[in-house]
């Protein structure tokens, strides 16, 4: 049986190796994608452009502006003269926020009667807009604190009493500098390695479309041997890609792997078996390559990006959506790879994800073998 399965595997490998396009797509393209996407996507918002409309033009208003632009987070593009100019810059996507200081700012702040400042934020890009808003608020609080300190000193209250009354000791575990690259790269590996499943769906549907499946059916191969032989090359190249990705992650992006390599091997096989079993089932139901691949696209590519938790944490989804997301192999693999890369945890934590994948693989695999008819329609 093993010999016969291996024969099918060898045949599949030959198909891949003979076509330069396929060879690239199956072996090198996941790595190329990983490198490109990690460079583009694993970035943090570092600074956003803003403008200021200062209608007060007093030393205090200038000192407030200095406070606002004291860090690298907010970049003052220029001073503007009117609200309509702000409107125009926001509409053209040139700035993400604006600060309007009304006349009487100095007077009111000195008299502690108000803070006539308006912050205008571009909500059409909520990530950058929210960033700008939070940072402007932060700088404003600091400015107010400083004003309060000065007022207190003037009244003879000891400034040491007032200075930063709380000492916030912040520690970020697993990712001390809170760099997006550290958790996005492992997750991207999982998402991109949906490609083998898509290739396989297409390859199998192709044999159906061309009628070469019928020839295979006429051989003494058992159903299981045939399907296992079809899956194996993709499991092997997939696992190889996982390990090559480790090197890429380390060398190019400085993302360390903290887990156990053997466990990574086992869980990768677990993932590929689950995702390929689903791909197999898709290929059995689809009559053409285009149907099989569009199916695979809807099951692997889109959800990989939108539902796997790579950019949007699972925990923040509504419970039903979280359920749905957990039923995708890629979601489980994202959690596994983040656990192994960042936390260095083992099966004692990841057993739930591993088990889910195993159950999926067995369930869909069995179903596929049962549904697959070695007869002609």
């Amino acid at each position: 049986m093993i010999r016969r399965t291996w024969a099918v595997t060898k045949k599949e490998f030959l198909h891949i190796v003979r076509s330069p396009g396929m060879l690239f797509l199956v072996t090198a393209s996941p790595l190329v994608m990983l490198i490109l996407m990690a460079y583009a996507l694993a970035v943090d918002i570092k600074s956003v452009p803003i403008v200021v409309l200062d209608q007060d033009l007093t030393p205090l208003s200038r000192s407030y502006i200095r406070q606002i632009v004291s860090g690298p987070d907010l970049v003052l593009m220029r001073y503007v003269g009117s609200l309509s100019e702000i409107n125009d810059l926001l509409e053209r996507d040139i700035i993400r926020a604006a600060i309007v200081i009304s006349p009487g700012f100095e007077e009111q702040v000195r008299a502690l009667s108000g803070f006539p400042v308006q912050i205008i934020v571009d909500g059409s890009e909520p990530k950058a807009g929210g960033f700008a808003f939070q940072h402007i608020l932060g700088h404003t609080y600091n400015f107010l604190e400083r004003q309060a300190l000065q007022a207190a000193t003037a009244q003879g209250i000891s400034p040491t009493l007032l200075e930063a009354p709380l000492d916030l000791r912040l520690r970020v575990w697993y990712n001390p500098d809170l760099k997006a690259v550290q958790d996005i790269v492992p997750a991207l590996i999982a998402v991109i390695l949906g490609l083998p499943a898509i290739s396989m769906s297409a390859a199998l549907a192709r044999e159906k479309e061309h009628g070469s499946m019928e020839m295979l059916m006429a051989t003494p191969l058992g159903k299981f041997e045939l399907l296992a032989g079809k899956i194996l090359p993709y499991v092997i190249t997939g696992v190889a890609d996982v390990f090559l990705s480790l090197i890429v992650a380390r060398v190019l992006f400085g993302v360390r792997f903290r887990g156990n390599l053997l466990l990574l091997l086992v869980l990768s096989v677990d993932y590929f078996v689950a995702s390929l079993a689903i791909a197999l089932l898709i290929a059995i139901y689809a009559r053409t390559q285009r149907a099989a691949t569009v199916f695979a696209l809807l099951v692997f590519l889109f959800p990989g990006f939108f539902l796997s938790g790579i950019f949007f944490p699972l925990i923040a989804m509504p419970p039903e959506a979280r359920m749905e997301a957990s039923m995708l192999p890629v979601t489980q693999f994202v959690a596994i790879l983040r656990g192994l890369f960042l936390k260095g945890v083992g099966l004692e934590v990841l057993w739930g994800n591993a088990l889910t994948l195993l159950v999926m693989g067995l369930l869909f695999g069995t179903f596929a073998v049962l549904r697959f008819r070695k007869k002609l329609a």
């Binding site: 396929m22 909500g123 107010l144 916030l168 809170l178 944490p313 925990i315």
Partner: protein
């Protein structure tokens, strides 16, 4: 000529009817995917499980804990009494933030020389959630300490000194108003590209391309016959998803709807050229499909869904410039959220137009090479 193109289109649709699964998937798949995604990622990141270990148990520490619990970003859960439990919960991803208020926190608050500590441990394994939590906790602590300073000095309370804030275009900073149009734009393009990319590669692989070439169809008619079904399917998807976006997901439609409809058509035509190009250059369907997949990854990146393009490295911002989807997103968000028109985003329309012309030229060259003339 129109009759010949018409019969080719009829042939395409007959072939589609035989492939029912594909038709269902291509017509309803994107819409159902949009629903799932809008539902799952439409809200802001909030309710992150947070464990507070209050070893002080004073009115002040409870006030701080309450203040944190009131923040929408956090959902305070029972972390037990032992800090060791927190370690395991962090490992398992059950808690995203741990806050430790040490004993004698309140004493320190009132003593003139000491600054009481508050320890915060963040789960950095998901940087998006951690970043949000960091922003929120810093804001909360900042407010808390500003409050104390203001209280001790002669300043009035913070409320009267708060700057007023206005968010334009998306008043509640609703994430969904950004992500749903992104997904809509992305799926629209994938469908058009998908159908177009299969046009010729499928015929070639199945050996029927020669038959078409020896038929009285001219090259132009052949291209039209292949393109029109792709445009029809793509545009149908766009209308369906746009209706869902506006009526079901309540994304505002502030600008001119006719303008959006016209530009969408124009945009599909440009993406179609890319699809035809792939179709002509691929030997097999499999190659065509996997090329579309790879392109889809790249386009997804440049749609700005995950990260604003302006935050990417400069080289990627430059590359994004030649991807039609980048400009299309700006146009769509401009019309839907900002309610602006051509007078604001005309440069992007021009870029898409130029890209379309260049792509059409390359496609024609490829067509001559691939099919012989």
């Amino acid at each position: 000529m129109f009759q010949r193109i018409g019969s080719l289109i009829v042939k395409e649709f007959i072939q589609l009817r035989r492939d029912l699964l594909f038709v269902i998937l291509i017509l309803l798949g994107p819409a159902s995917e949009l629903t799932a995604v809008a539902y799952a990622t439409g809200t802001e990141i909030r309710n992150l499980p947070t464990a507070i270990y209050d070893y002080d148990r004073s009115p002040e520490s409870r006030e701080l804990a309450q203040m944190i619990a009131n923040v929408e970003t956090f959902n305070v859960i029972d972390g037990g009494t032992d800090l060791h439990d927190a370690t395991e919960m962090l490992d398992r991803g059950e808690v995203y933030m741990v806050i430790v208020i040490p004993p004698r926190f309140s004493d320190g608050l009132h003593a003139p020389t000491t600054r009481p500590q508050v320890q915060v441990i963040l789960n950095g394994a998901e940087s998006a959630a951690a970043g949000k939590a960091l922003e929120a906790i810093e804001g909360t602590i900042n407010r808390y300490s500003t409050d104390i300073v203001l209280e001790l000095s002669a300043f009035p309370s913070l409320e009267s000194l708060e700057p007023s804030a206005r968010v334009w275009f998306n008043e509640e900073l609703r994430q969904a108003n950004y992500t749903i149009p992104s997904e809509l734009g992305f799926m629209l393009y994938v469908v058009a590209l998908w159908v177009a990319a299969l046009g010729f590669s499928r015929e070639r692989e199945l050996g029927t391309l020669e038959q078409l070439l020896v038929s009285p169809l001219s090259r132009f008619e052949l291209i039209m016959g292949k393109s029109i079904p792709a445009v029809i399917i793509g545009y149908f998807n766009f209308l369906l998803m746009l209706a869902m976006t506006v009526f079901l997901f309540k994304v505002p439609m502030r600008g001119s709807l006719p303008l959006l409809l016209v530009l969408a058509f124009f945009y599909i035509l440009v993406e179609l050229q890319r699809g035809l190009l792939i179709s002509l250059l691929s030997e097999t369907q499999q190659q065509a499909l996997l090329t579309v997949f790879m392109l889809a990854f790249v386009d997804m990146t440049f749609s700005g869904y995950a990260v604003p393009v302006e935050s990417m490295p400069l080289i990627f911002q430059k590359i994004a410039f030649i991807f039609p989807i980048r400009h299309w997103m700006i146009i769509m968000r401009g019309i839907m959220l900002k309610g602006v028109g051509l007078e604001v985003f005309w440069p992007h329309v021009v870029v898409i137009g130029v890209l379309g012309i260049v792509l059409t030229g390359v496609t024609l060259l490829a067509f001559r090479r691939a099919l012989g003339d």
